[in-house]
């Protein structure tokens, strides 16, 4: 049994960590946090040069042709560094949707551009409140044009193209939904920036008015494709969350060792020690669930839907838990803009919602476990 990443994959992780430590310091993240740039363009370029953007994209489409396990270790480092770039929208959602359902022409048009850092993509799924569900999709598609509003769309204001979930029928079934590919620079769209929990990752409202769009995958297959995309993204995001959780735990641990109160290191008080021990427990459970998700993703196993939901829930909980208690360990200083704790708190809580909320994934997990037991 080797339920672990290979030495080469671990080396890639070290390489990514080193690169991000240099190019994505908390100071660099703060440029975006403070609203001075919509995302870190230099970092984005660097990620392309390192081959990280196209690591799971096949060579024939301009990528490195490695695989999802390689993408997982990079995702972990992106989370650890709190990278202010549209990595998850472009790489986990848009690129994966293209890989699953794109025509040869569509893949050739967008995937090499993604790998080269020349195109930012995203998924336009949500329309206000609510979780992923066919009935929540009201945006209409007819005769190759879209009409309707999507919000929030992660990185919508900086994206070059979007995969848009649209309604092409009204039977009340999943087959009412189709996916479309939209060039956001070609007109028919109006984009509005939305103030959001995590300013290091922008959110937008996009209004489509007679906007030209081409089908991605077959008509009526949209929901089934979308489910696969979300499962893959759930695993990849889980690695980002695991990386973020580990970093928040480290920050808390380091501060507990450094800070003196009542004449001793605060890390010598059991109330603080036990809080940190519990954070370690959450982070460890999340990492192990995520490894299982990575295995299922990389082997395209029948277990993927269940493994993805478990990874998603566990990693969401761990990142939220570690990020909030990191602030608690820091005390008042942790609640200042100046300390970095709130960046992880913001990211943890924004990521908890991006692919559908915790309660949605809890529901999914139980459905999927029942299906497996019935089979």
């Amino acid at each position: 049994m080797n339920f672990d990443f290979s030495d080469d994959q671990k080396q890639l992780r070290d390489q990514a960590r080193k690169f991000l430590a240099e190019k994505c310091s908390p100071k660099a993240v703060r440029v975006v946090l403070d609203g001075k740039a919509p995302y870190d363009k230099e970092l984005w370029k660097g990620l392309a040069e390192m081959g990280f953007l196209g690591v799971a994209i096949p060579e024939e489409f301009g990528g490195a042709g490695a695989g999802h396990l390689e993408l997982c270790v990079i995702a972990e480092e992106m989370g650890r560094a709190n990278a202010p770039v549209p990595f998850s929208s472009t790489v986990y959602l848009a690129a994966e949707a293209l890989l699953i359902a794109g025509s040869d022409v569509q893949k050739k048009k967008w995937l090499p551009a993604i790998a080269a850092g020349e195109a930012i993509g995203t998924l336009a799924l949500f329309e206000g409140k609510g979780n992923p569900s066919p009935k929540n999709i009201k945006l209409m598609a007819a005769n190759g044009t879209l009409n309707g509003v999507k919000k929030p769309v992660a990185d919508g204001a900086i994206a070059d193209f979007a995969v848009v979930a649209a309604r092409t029928g009204s039977s009340g079934r999943e087959s009412d939904i189709s996916l479309f590919l939209v060039d956001l620079k070609a007109g028919g769209v109006e984009v509005k920036n939305l103030t959001n929990l995590d300013p290091t990752r922008s959110q937008a409202e996009i209004t489509f008015t007679n906007c030209k769009a081409e089908l991605l995958g077959a008509a009526g297959e949209g929901w089934s494709i979308l489910t696969q995309v979300l499962d893959r993204a759930a695993v990849l995001c889980a690695f980002e969350q695991v990386g973020g959780a580990d970093r928040a735990l480290e920050m808390g641990r380091d501060y507990a060792l450094d800070r003196i109160a009542f004449g001793r290191q605060i890390g010598s008080f059991q109330a603080v020690k036990h809080m940190l021990a519990d954070m370690y427990v959450s982070a460890t459970l999340a990492r192990s669930n995520s490894y299982y998700g990575a295995w299922a993703l990389s082997t395209n196993a029948a277990e993927l839907p269940e493994a993805a939901a478990a990874a998603r829930i566990s990693a969401t909980q761990a990142f939220q838990h570690c990020a909030k208690n990191n602030i608690q360990v820091h005390g008042g200083m942790g609640f200042t803009w100046e300390f970095d704790c709130h960046m992880y708190y913001r990211r943890a809580n924004a990521m908890a919602l991006g692919l559908g909320s915790l309660s949605y994934w809890e529901d999914q997990l139980i459905d999927r476990m029942r299906k497996k037991n019935a089979a």
Partner: protein
């Protein structure tokens, strides 16, 4: 990343599987599979006798204490082979429970500190289950603070005379031998005045009294020592070095990797899958689903944490510290799971008799046994200290009694 055996592992697994299939006491398989925390028993047989017979059969064929050297009754197997055996033994592994302390803690301590002739005499019958061993560490005045123990050992010629009391001794009532931690010098700080021995539990002056637990069952005992004489050659380690010897024992406890911990989740999921609530099936109720999902990811998180440790063993490496979370997570989880299962039963949850209760009272039995899981083998608080100090590198507790001679530590009137 894969879950596949190496060719050698696959071969070992096939051999183990074939032997188990030909030799295991299959008539008890279903009952053992249905057992859960607080409820491991056989209807028509004495489980201790069944367990001893299975252990002896394994030993005769070379399948007992796999990782021990052959000359001491083991198989000389690798750590990963031991894990594979446990996986293949499946529900029959429940029968090893009465041997866990002897095999997991006493045996390794004997191997590290006993004289060669003692090892050859005592270890093979320990491996084969013919002798059962217990561990006599905890005392009324020293539970989590085990180095605060007070049982005295005084030298008298070639013998030591033991007086005092131990408590929480699992299985003392059916044990043949025990390892015993004593205080030999009360005038030095507490960790420095301890000495370890092994002894025959049938020695004159040893009295075992079962403790009736909160659950009503009796797994633990008080053990009283009145002028019990132990020959000096049964000393393990140097005089005054008992603390270090006991650390070896406790380290071995923690290295038992791959042993599945009970979380109660499979039992609860199965129960909820068929349970009808007032508004419909429990499994379709949103509140129930949310609870189940939260426990599901803890249970799977523990399972795959264990897989990561096993992978390290398979590569011939030492597993990382992540395995230390198992007991802490599972202990309080099984308590919560049992509480929730009863909540779903409404007022009927109060009925616990196997004949009248829901699913034969398995969740009531689990609830009543669960508090013990959070205390035995290191309380939740001690486990958190261990993670904080050994994994995260946080400072140890400030110990006010560290440099004080043991007999000068305040006791609030207790001795």
């Amino acid at each position: 990343m894969n879950f596949d055996d190496t060719p050698q592992e696959a071969e070992f697994r096939a051999t183990a599987r074939a032997w188990i299939s030909a030799n295991a006491p299959k008539q008890y398989e279903e009952e053992l599979r249905q057992s859960s925390l607080g409820r491991t028993q056989l209807k028509n047989a004495n489980i201790l006798e069944v367990a001893k017979a299975w252990q002896k059969k394994k030993a005769d064929a070379g399948w007992a204490c796999l990782h021990w050297p052959k000359e001491y009754g083991g198989r000389g197997a690798s750590p990963i082979e031991r894990v594979i055996w446990q996986q293949e033994e499946g529900p029959f592994g429940q029968l090893s429970r009465m041997f866990i302390i002897g095999h997991g803690m006493c045996g390794p301590t004997m191997m590290a500190f006993a004289r060669e002739e003692h090892k050859r005499t005592y270890l093979p019958p320990l491996a084969s289950g013919e002798n059962v061993w217990c561990q006599l560490f905890s005392e009324p005045a020293g539970g989590s603070d085990v180095a605060g123990l007070r049982t005295r050992a005084e030298k008298d010629g070639d013998e030591w005379v033991i007086n005092g009391q131990k408590i929480w001794t699992s299985g003392a009532h059916y044990s043949d031998y025990g390892i015993l931690l004593t205080r030999t010098d009360p005038t030095v700080p507490k960790h420095k005045g301890l000495t370890m021995f092994f002894l025959d539990m049938k020695s004159p002056g040893v009295e075992v009294r079962p403790i009736k637990q909160a659950s009503g069952a009796s797994d633990f005992n008080e053990v009283y020592f009145t002028n019990v004489r132990i020959p000096d050659h049964q000393r393990l380690g140097e005089v005054g070095d008992g603390w270090n010897v006991s650390l070896t024992t406790l380290m071995n406890e923690r290295s038992a990797i791959g042993a599945a911990v009970s979380t109660g989740f499979p039992e609860l999921f199965e129960y909820c899958s068929s349970l009808m609530l007032d508004d419909g099936p429990a499994i379709e109720d949103r509140a129930v689903r949310s609870k189940l999902a939260n426990w599901a990811v803890k249970a799977s998180g523990l399972k795959y944490t264990s897989m990561r440790a096993i992978s390290a063993l398979s590569r011939g490496e030492r597993p990382g510290p992540e395995n230390s979370i198992g007991k802490l997570v599972a202990g309080s989880m099984i308590q919560d799971v049992a509480t929730y299962a009863l909540d779903l039963q409404g007022a009927a949850g109060v009925v616990s008799g196997p004949e009248d209760a829901e699913v034969a009272g398995r969740f009531q039995a689990m609830l009543l046994r669960a508090p013990g899981t959070r205390v035995e083998g290191g309380t939740d608080e001690i486990m958190r200290n261990i993670i904080a100090e050994r994994v995260l590198g946080l400072p140890g507790d400030i110990r006010v009694d560290k440099d004080v001679p043991f007999n000068k530590i305040p006791t609030k009137g207790r001795n």
